[in-house]
Symmetry: C2
Subunit: 465 residues, 2 copies
């Protein structure tokens, strides 16, 4: 179903450079944007430094993230300010002072919460985060994850020159283009920091692609050669500022493999389109029904109002619930072909879609008892069923008693509509949401999902690497 | 579905003895029958001895089998005569002379073939086999299986007195009653010789039942303590006349377990009926359809004319073919619930019946390719499917390329009706029979099997231990 050319060995230097140049034209901020970014960042840093001085003399302010390192993609307008307090400051004071400074810097800002509370707001057209953290001696002594961030910027600032920063931008756009950019728990892909470390490690965008094309996961990249833990991930990139952390911990095996596919394909045939793909057109209900008829499967879906939690909580819960439901369907004989968790942008609808090869099974199922020679168990089994008129048997097969007895659920829908749904492994918030209300769609009825999930279903029925 | 009482601990001596006495009344030959058997056997032995003297001076004649040992069931009219030639006689002469003697003793007899040719015929109302064999020094020096038989009779004659012979008759009738008597390859049960050895070992019918009730297969009974081979059978009874032979080699695990079940049940509640059961009434086509509807399964059957081979060739071939077909259906996703090979008494019809939980699967099936990182294979797989409009994908799942492509057979019937049937493990003669002609019955159509197989289907749909 894919119309992209297959990856091929052999490529043309000029073609590659020419395509990268066209990508760079779109992702490199121009002089004006850089100038403006510098101005705004300096102004914000200075405002924050002034503000914090009133609370704590030994605090300082650093700008972090891609806009601090010159690796942002043209048009990104995120400025991240970290207000660093000495470790002698109590956590309570840090939180209180951090938020106060944030509000002074960003008068229109609002409080958000990650590991600490912090303030998020707009300033001269930029999206600004003002985050308090501790100034620890090294990244391995952090008190919370945010304390690590300044070390990342420090590490990269020392190593990324303007040329490498350009390579990073091309790399990040490529990762975005092929759908693996982002360490959020929906994407489970490559963070900006991870992209920068890999470009640094390999020396450029092309070198990065060439290395990726040859990866044999599981593999470890360890820029400082100081790994100090063992990891069970397909890709391990040891944090140069913390030997016990895998920067790529969140990357799924699927995304590592997808990146490999696209790296090979791009090296074989570089195209700007691979870096700037367009979303598929949303699919219509009628087309969903046609796909279902063509495939001959039985799709089932649980549709519900998603719990009101942040994305990084929602997606692991959806995924966990989906696999719990799919595993249970499978275990009950409703063989699963493919599955997908769905959550609409507006968070009004979520769905767990499971496409089944077998949606129905016979009334009877085989139930094997103990070996006849295990006297006590065998006797108990035999007596339990000998006079049951609804059971075929007991008879003997090989060395065991066997009966054919009623199956609990003859259809997948019956299982999903029953309380047994709540015995499967569900995310806690998803379970609560389902307890409130859900409905079960079967077969053609899943076409109703085309409303909120037209784009997702378009890609579901035309899956690509 | 079974109406028999469950086995229970605790029984009543008098009740057991009383039931056995009633069984013995029916299975012990009376004085007149014994007298007549003695007369006929003596007459036959003498006629055979006279006849063989003309061919070979050193040959002799022995009567073997249960009628020689006094362990026959009243009404059995089988007399087995073995004509023993010295080992100096060539195989050709043995065969020629053996058949000639047979025809002289049984003028109306016909030639049959086991390992040698032999003559089978009627004499004064008895069914007589006249079999040539070699007089070897011991059973471990036999040239063919029949040479062993006289040693069995010799061994048992020395050990079975009248009382034990009576215990043997009760035991054999019990084995018949519960359906595990016979070492033919349809039954795969207990031969008469095996029953006699076990009664001898345990000391009587009741002791046999009590021992069987406690068996923990795999187990070995070795009357002479001279086992000289290792066996992979659920029950091993080492031949006292040949330390390398398992007399119970043909016993299936199912029959060993069924015997255990019935031994326990009979000890708990002795009944004459368990020793003399009546065949179930044949089931009608309409009742087959009702069972199929009730069970909700998809039965399929291959109906054909069985090959013209002896039963002991036919049944292993039917069984092998049945498991070949069932395994292939299972492998293709047509999940098997139960299966049965059928061959009509008149040998005009045979059928392989397989009852499926899943008779149909979707058009598409998942086909996983190599891991993406295995570059050459992955590339080959990707290129093979990338432009195939009938395929969904390739996409990436975990570390592999995957496509969803057309399934070869969407229904079990389509598989059975195709040439793929001949790629499964079939008995050679069954394969030839199917090559000549067969038809496939699906769902309700299997009700047509009620004609030739009404009794078998009655027990199939009311299975008992």
């Amino acid at each position: 179903m894919s119309d992209e050319g297959a990856p091929e060995a052999g490529d043309d230097d000029d073609e590659f450079e020419e395509v990268v140049a066209r990508v760079r034209e779109r992702v490199d901020p121009d002089a004006e944007e850089r100038e403006r970014m510098r101005d705004v960042a300096a102004e914000l840093t200075s405002r924050a430094a002034d503000a914090v001085a009133a609370y704590c003399e030994d605090a300082d302010v650093v700008q972090v993230g891609s806009t601090a390192r010159g690796t942002w993609i043209a048009g990104d307008r995120d400025v991240d300010l970290f207000v660093r307090f000495p470790t002698s400051v109590s956590r309570e004071d840090l939180e209180e002072w951090g938020v106060a400074v944030g509000h002074e810097v960003l008068p229109e800002g609002r409080e958000e919460y990650a590991e600490h509370p912090y303030v998020k707001g707009e300033y001269r057209g930029f999206d600004v985060d003002c985050v308090p953290c501790y100034a620890v001696e090294s990244a391995s002594e952090i008190r919370s994850a945010v304390d690590r961030t300044p070390f990342h910027t420090l590490y990269l600032e020392e190593r990324l020159d303007d040329e490498l920063a350009g390579e990073v931008r091309a790399t990040k756009q490529f990762l975005k283009g092929v759908g693996v950019y982002g360490s959020d728990l929906q994407t489970r892909g490559f963070s900006g920091y991870l992209a920068e470390l890999l470009v640094l490690e390999y020396g450029g965008f092309r070198e990065f692609l060439e290395a990726v094309a040859e990866w044999h996961p599981p593999l470890t990249v360890d820029p400082e050669g100081h790994v100090a833990a063992s990891f069970d991930d397909p890709l391990v990139v040891v944090d140069p500022t913390d030997p016990e952390r895998n920067v790529a911990a969140v990357c799924s095996a699927t995304n590592v493999a997808r990146l490999q596919h696209h790296a090979r394909a791009f090296l074989a045939e570089p195209t700007v389109d691979r870096c700037f793909p367009s979303d598929p057109d949303p699919i219509a209900a009628e087309a969903v029904r046609e796909h279902v008829a063509d495939r001959g499967t039985t799709p089932v879906a649980i549709r519900f109002s998603p719990p009101d939690v942040v994305d990084d909580q929602l997606w692991p819960q959806l995924r966990r619930s989906l696999s719990g439901v799919a595993d249970e369907l499978d275990r009950r004989g409703f063989d699963v072909l493919r599955e997908r968790a769905l959550a609409a942008e507006d968070r009004k609808t979520a769905a767990l879609l499971v496409e089944l090869e077998v949606g129905e099974r016979p009334r009877v199922r085989r139930h094997a008892g103990p070996p006849v020679h295990v006297a006590e168990h065998a006797k108990g089994f035999y007596e339990k069923y000998a006079d049951d008129p609804d059971v075929y048997g007991p008879f003997v097969d090989d060395d065991r008693y066997v009966v054919e007895r009623e199956r609990e659920f003859e259809t997948a829908a019956a299982l999903l509509e029953s309380d047994a749904l709540f015995d499967v492994r569900l995310g806690a918030h998803v379970a609560s949401a389902l307890e409130a209300d859900y409905d079960v769609l079967v077969g053609d009825d899943v076409a109703a999902l085309a409303g909120p999930f037209g784009v997702e279903l378009a890609s579901y029925f035309d899956p690509e690497p």
